[in-house]
Subunit: 407 residues, 4 copies
């Protein structure tokens, strides 16, 4: 541990009530203690914007009515109070104008994907980045997984030999019904060409699949042959994508993306084969990287496990075997504890409420078990009763306390 | 979103440099923005304590040399600055004295497990909680998983009928070699009876298994028949536990815990069977709950998926299919972005360094793909070259800019 | 391939209509063409015995009313017609008398497990084997799996170092309801002490688990601490077993067996850990052997895959990746073809009947696809219509035939 | 069980020494006792042909030098001795001439796939079938799996609603090196256009994938856009196939086939999605059919399990949980027993030879365990020694025998 610089102050564009990805960004920003939310233009709806700010402990003075107001207002604050970066979590059509304006106002930008509505807009952002010399980051989240970094590093080192095949598929089922026609907040703008851009499923998750394919393989896709389909009647943008790929150096491949794979949650899978081995990664089991060989048993490389390199360990927070959801499970205890204190409670809520967390009772039970197990192990009797162990300990403690209190 | 109370201010006992679980607690506390670390007695080693505080942005004035000093010092601060809770992440033998002192000094306590060295100490903590009316929480992390809550709720509702069998196993392999004899920081105190308590593996992870068994089944273990073994020569506490269980109402079961299952990371599994169905949960795939029936196909209930109840959804932050490590992957991007800004960078570090994160280049590539795929889909040509699409877009943009700049 | 000796002629004791395991034995005997069923005493019920013999193409003269009659009758036939071995697939209480009588009459014996009602009976069979110098085999089927043989061989070679832990569990759910009280043929005798023997679940599947534990580990179990339970009211023999084990050389372990794990099919799992590595095998995914190491990624060793030894390959019939059910799937086509011929059919039955198998139509379709794919690949057009390809081929063939027939 | 017709007599074209698929056909034919191999033209190499026949117990008189000789020779035998069907397991280029000749000679035909070198040849076979009114079957083995039949039946019943997506992939890695250039028997002809036909990987396994896609979905593929690649330098036929599919009724899909996916054994996977649900089947875990729903947990339908229909149960031989390789494991015991008898052995071969099978010793051990477990369960002592139990039983038996022998 070494001395740490101050937290990075950020403002948020979008991410108000009812938004999904804004909350995810805030949790991710909070996790390592390196970012601090200081302002926002959370919603174009004034009431929603204020309620959102309030719930995020942002004072009224820094809950701005628009991105423009936020950029101007923050630039009038002293440099050491002023936000330093803008996080963009709006629908796609606002990505470019917000990014360019923020960059031009002197702020760094971290943006949701896809980068913009189309390639021209993306190039305009690129021009703004060059012009302003600010930092621009893009939320291709899956490249943040330790095993994705591990896969890339191994392929870059030549472990698989010359790459021949790249198969990537990102399938979901949540748009298999016409929920966009029913005003579903997430679905509504994603299927509207004016707000989503050129591609529907293609832009929303096809871009993730594509980025991962190029990122892990280290190869550029040179040509594409694509079939974009709309399977839900009335929808205006593709909800299913199949594409043949030709990559640098003669590799070939397939990219699949679908949001109408009924019943599938979020299945992102990539397989890459070279002339000396193959690799496979599944986002739904993200801490395993399957590595195959022509001449020996295949291996499961694990986050934090034996044989992983620095790119992977730099993305890991907890030991092998713990990572999947472990921090969130832990955070659940913390959240409940804080809520209970704030609401004046001094014992955990009842065990069958959603607010319960473990406390004294769980501690006593487990220590009773430990003591009973040790006692039983030392005896030749087959069974030891836990109730007797607890009762005996309580008696001994009571006797000891009595003795202590005795004159 | 509704207005949120102030963050809960906490001090940390233990958790200095080189500690594993202290960092986990801090991340969990930060995740939802409800806790704020304000002070600590991180280490009995003065230098280490100061360095730890510094790295955590705790000023020298609140980096205390001992828990006693922290309790006294904080109580002299105004109530709205003073810490409100103590988080205990020390070795086991300090759990009880720290908890009792903190409670008696008027603070809430959130403690690592096992609760104490033995049952008597646990009862002493219980007495202090009763005496002080403060909140006490215990880090039985696994009960924070959504699917653990779901399992308990379903069993409580009678879904499995009368419970007959409970099988729980928590196995690890990290102590399969005598690393405790070599001064390994984590292993050292865990195998020392004076600092670990009555049980070795039994206290360290057997307690997790036991707590989960009682928690999910809703049944009390009444009797135990146990076999505690030391498999690594020279070790002083059990490193492997097998126990037969008899539970309330005639259910029977087995508890396994091991830290010498060579090569296993952290495999916590529980299976419970009633006369109408069965359930199975694996910590290594925590977002699936397997539910079996005598007369229809078995089901996989998923975090955030169809059919889950309020206890589970209250513990979930992201949609179905995303939870496993997704937030950490996201946080990795945030961490790198902040680091780059703080070190004065304005572009992502090189792609093959551990510090890389996605930026402009990734955005341009993915938008090129989107545009190429759409163009190809609309043509009868089989292949579309990405490089041509990008070049064309760059040319068009250059021409447009030229026209704009023309007088 | 070398010249093969004549088939081994066998008679069957038990295994008539409605029996499950008798049919399994006959399929296993037929599979490699080394056995030939020549006679039987299939049932003590005369009608059932005759019907069973008839369905198995055994003439009336060799469908014996009792085992005694079979032994006597066969011994009056010329040696080159006479059966050579008796396969015993009766309920448990008949294992010993049948085996001893068959051995004493000069026949080899292959018997279902458990060997006998109790240890004394087992020793009586042993004495008969010694006395008669005949071959006696016991159907511990799971030791016939390639990966079980592989596991044993690797452990014997010292690959895992000194063995410390053995965990074996065989759980089923089919007796979770009181079907034995309802006259279920399989359940009825298995829960009757007079016909099943000392143990219920213990004898029926606990013996499999035990045999596998000793067989794979190569270690003798020295002591047991057991808990046998009856979970279904009214049942007379244990339906659930938990046992602590102490093995040779200081290894410890646990054995679980249950027939009341509601909803579980047939889950036999074994895990063995030594001081240098660990292994895991699951009967429900029998062609994978998981091998774990302290210092490198874990491996999946596969039947027929790289790195397997001679004990395993000697038990393998098809290449890696095919074995699971592949031969049965193949046999399904054969069975349907033969049935169709025998019932006078000259085309496969309709596709949505259970009797369907692939024929001409499937061939034409797939060759159309091949031809269309090749044609499309050679063209710059994006799509090729299969119907046009088929139509064109039919026309060309018709024209060719016309030309040929032309004078 | 009902009276069974006589076995179907067959001759084999191809399948001599060193061939893989011929042996598979013979096992599949033997399994249910419905077929009998009576003759063959196993190889065009006379010596190999004779050795093969000898090893299959076919007399010299019916080991024919050519298919033509076999057809002619058999037709001179009395009808009740003569073969009734020809099984074709030659390389692809002989499929058509053999099938047409056999049909024209009056025999039924069961042929390996692909049906022929190209579509024209396939149509010629079709014409011969029509002309001769004989039965023709094609070894699309995967359609013989119970869960494939179940999937088709469920989709046909409308369970998934209107089908939208079909994804099928059959990948292998065995041709990832240039083993065809080294004279590998299986690889050699498969990569030779003259003997393999139009497609390499496309014909060999792409046809399986295609047949399965149409068979399970019940939909006709109408158009294809294909990319066939050769990844191993010098190879003459495609070793990797990617194809976009358009199916009847607006469904779309992708077909992948590869033989250069380094390290992959035999991974055939199909996923089909309709507007009401989705299904997924993996050949490497063939007894599970995954069924997904938009509004409830997904289900695992199992061979022989609850909820399966008649098409599936008609293809099943053993109870749920047993099928994968179980019959082969059983057959391994049978094979070893027969070999031991034929080689004059009266005890199982030593346990660490590949020829070992379980016998008396295994029986005694397991009965000792049963007796010890029961004894321990009835006692309050924690441990029971197995050696003492065995010794006591041996003593008692010895005493009993002594008493019996006493005058």
């Amino acid at each position: 541990m070494t001395s740490r610089p101050a937290k990075l102050r950020y403002g948020m564009a979008g991410g108000g009530e009812g938004a999904f990805i804004g909350a995810v960004h805030r949790i991710a920003a909070a996790m390592d203690g390196d970012w601090e939310l200081v302002c926002g233009a959370f919603s174009s709806d004034g009431d929603r914007n204020r309620r959102s700010a309030d719930s995020l402990r942002i004072g009224a003075g820094r809950a701005y009515a628009s991105v423009e107001a936020m950029l101007a207002g923050e630039n009038q604050l002293p440099p050491d109070e002023r936000m330093e970066a803008v996080v963009i979590v709006t629908p796609n059509h606002l990505h470019k104008p917000t990014a360019v304006a923020a960059l031009d106002a002197g702020f760094h930008v971290l943006s949701e994907k896809p980068m913009a509505l189309d390639l021209t807009e993306a190039l305009e952002i690129e021009a703004a980045v060059v012009r302003t010399n600010r930092l621009y980051g893009l939320a291709f989240t899956y490249s943040g997984y330790p095993m994705v970094a591990e896969a890339r590093a191994r392929i870059a080192s030549g472990e698989l030999g010359r790459i021949r095949l790249v198969e990537v598929a990102y399938i979901q089922g949540w748009l298999s019904e016409a929920i966009d026609a029913d005003g579903h907040k997430q679905a509504d703008w994603r299927t509207d060409p004016a707000r989503a851009g050129l591609g529907g499923c293609l832009g929303d998750i096809g871009t993730h699949a594509f980025q991962l394919a190029e990122h892990i393989s280290g190869l550029t896709v040179e040509a594409v042959s694509a079939d974009l389909n709309i399977h839900v009647p009335g929808r205006r943008l593709d909800d299913d994508v199949s594409a043949l790929l030709r990559l640098q150096g003669g590799a070939t491949g397939v990219l699949r993306a679908s949001q109408v794979a009924t019943g599938v949650e979020n299945d992102l899978t990539i397989r890459i084969f070279g002339d000396r081995g193959g690799m496979e990664w599944h986002q739904m089991e993200p801490n395993s990287l399957i590595v195959r060989w022509p001449d020996r048993p295949f291996e499961i490389v694990r986050t934090g496990g034996a044989g992983v390199g620095p790119s992977s360990t730099a993305r890991q927070r907890v030991p092998a075997g713990h990572p999947e959801g472990y921090l969130e499970a832990f955070a659940n205890l913390y959240r409940r504890f804080a809520q209970t204190v704030r609401s004046g409670g001094t014992t955990p809520p009842p065990i069958d409420t959603p607010e319960w967390f473990p406390g004294i009772a769980d501690g006593i039970r487990t220590m009773t078990f430990v003591q009973a197990a040790v006692a039983n192990h030392r005896s030749t009797e087959k069974w030891t009763q836990l109730a007797e162990v607890e009762q005996r300990a309580r008696q001994q403690l009571a006797e000891r306390d009595t003795q202590r209190r005795a004159p």
